[in-house]
């Protein structure tokens, strides 16, 4: 009750401070109305990053933060989320792992074909400067971290930043971005490249010997949960990017819930404090029907 009164007073205070316009006709503070609709872009280049992963490049003047994603529309088929994994001038790229119908159709697209893009959506990574940073990417999860690494490098250029990149894959052929980040620490489950074992194993080895100021991670949720636990234990700050089935992408449909937080607007990137409050993290996910199931 006291809390409620306090909250009402706070709102009243905000209104007084004109954050909420009241008298005028439109008392919504959001003035600029954006349309959540796909814009068609032409694919201008396609590269093959691994047997299962292609990168699609297109022109767009969309501004985004590393970790944000776009919804990719193939008319009459479906629309699905993909992280922006490449960004230079006005050329953006998405890295697509072929999994089911949608990604297969996307893989069949040629240069000159068009796809729809809406976004960017979500809250990306927090860029910390001047630190010892570790980036851990499991499989295609590495895609979310690429532009983060680029950004960290550009921001911290001459400030003694130290980035350790751990990239895990099942086997050597599935390793991504090897040319882009030449000094990645690799690990494969079958030992065909780098350290034999998972990214978590390698990270655990490293964190025993080395102090990181921030750890950024993206990949399978089980992996993310273990990294989060290791960071908690080592009192190391971390941010992870989560994955849920996405429909609207802008926070209304409730499909992408993780313990009351929406992946699409409150995430996909969450910090430790948030993660520690999210009971479903690492345990429950939500299916396409909206059922909460063990993940």
């Amino acid at each position: 009750m006291v809390l409620k009164t306090l909250k009402v007073l706070l709102v009243l205070h905000m209104i007084k401070r004109k954050k909420i316009k009241l008298v005028s006709f439109s008392s919504r503070e959001i003035e600029e109305k954006k349309a959540e609709q796909p814009v068609m872009v032409k694919i201008c280049k396609i590269t093959k990053e691994s047997p299962g992963v292609k990168i699609f490049f297109f022109e767009s003047d969309v501004k985004f933060t590393p970790g944000q994603f776009v919804m990719v529309w193939i008319p009459l088929l479906d629309e699905k989320p993909f992280t922006i994994s490449y960004f230079q001038d006005n050329i953006l790229g998405i890295s697509v792992l072929k999994r089911g119908l949608f990604t297969s159709v996307l893989h069949s697209k040629k240069v000159g074909d068009t796809i729809g893009i809406r976004g960017p959506y979500g809250r990306g990574f927090n860029i910390k400067t001047n630190l010892n940073v570790c980036v851990v990417g499991g499989g295609i999860g590495m895609a979310s971290l690429t532009t983060l690494v680029d950004k960290l490098n550009s921001v911290n250029n001459k400030q003694g930043l130290n980035i350790t990149i751990i990239h895990g894959a099942r086997t050597a052929a599935e390793i991504l971005y090897q040319k882009r980040f030449r000094d990645m620490k690799l690990c494969t489950e079958d030992g065909t490249a780098g350290f034999k074992g998972t990214a978590v194993d390698l990270f655990e080895n490293l964190i025993k010997r080395q102090r990181f100021d921030t750890v950024y991670a993206c990949g399978p949720e089980k992996m993310l949960y273990k990294i989060f636990e290791l960071c908690q234990r080592n009192k190391t700050n971390c941010e992870v990017s989560l994955d849920r089935y996405i429909k609207c992408g802008f926070g209304v449909c409730g499909q992408c819930d993780c313990s009351g937080r929406r992946i699409c607007v409150d995430g996909p990137v969450f910090n430790m404090e948030e993660l520690s409050e999210m009971k479903d993290f690492g345990k429950m996910t939500v299916t396409k029907t909206g059922e909460r199931v063990i993940c």
Binding site: K4, K7, V8, L9, V11, L12, M14, I15, I20, L22, S26, S27, R28, E29, I30, K33, K34, A35, E36, Q37, P38, V39, M40, M71, W73, P75, L76, L77, D78, E79, K80, T114, G116, K247, C248, F250, G251, V252, C253, G254, Q255, D257, S259, G260, R261, R262, D280, V286, T287, K288, T289, G290, E291, R292
Partner: protein
Amino acid sequence: MRVSVSKIDLSVSLCNIKLTNPTILASGILGTTKALLKRVAENGAGAVTIKSVSVEPREGHKNPTVITFEAGMLNAVGYSNPGVEAAAREFKDLQDVSVPVIASVIGTQKKDFVRVVEGFSKTKFSAIEIPLSCPHTPGFGLLAGQGTPKATFEITSAVRRLTKLPVFVKVSPNIPEICTIAKAAEDAGADAITAVNSMGPGMIINIEAQKPILSFKVGGISGDALRPVAVRCVYDLYKAIKIPIIGVGGISTGRHAIEMLMAGASAVEIGTGVYYRGVDVFRKVCGEMTVWMQENGIKNVKSIIGVAHD
């Protein structure tokens, strides 16, 4: 003339359910999990409604399912939901949610509504809302002929017999005979009318792709575009029926909520407003209502219900 904040009373009573304020989360927005309901309650809603639940799980339409344009939102989610069994699991222990929770129950036939209500019999919902008015899901609502007086009467009666909870019947703004439908619901024992569901349907074509954007091609319209239609429906219903009306459609500010109450609504639901102003739209709307009431010397929000009528 001015009233001090502490004297402003936003509380309303809806079919004997006490609400600390008249704002309710509309069905289909964020109401998929108990955790989200909790969050909405913490953000100031007077009550919350779950996303509609059918007997069997449904994946709904393919994406895009929700898009916006400058005047509102179009959606054809297609009633994706985990089915009543999983939903009953999800919504057990509703005491964690600090405000009343309303169930939304759908079905393709009368017996489906019955099965879902039975499936929820152990769940502590405060009321049951039955939307007979979705404009974009084959097998349900308007596309299943549920928007006729006869179907409305039959489905409402069946649900009425089954439960002691207040039953809200949610009607469509697309049907010119909205008052006849609402009366059929009233006659069948409905405790309130929720007016309105989304409008249209509408279509938006991407001209570069030369194709409708929504995968179902058409979708129900909500948000600003709907508000004047919703206000008119509530105004007409207020004259036609005796049971209370819950006003829904395009509400995202305190002024909008007050307009809807003046038209005759006893409470309001907010859906698309979450998009326009965030999850705390409920707190914002209540804050704006409070300030307006202060400035206009109105202490009790109940006193403005229906005042726009002669």
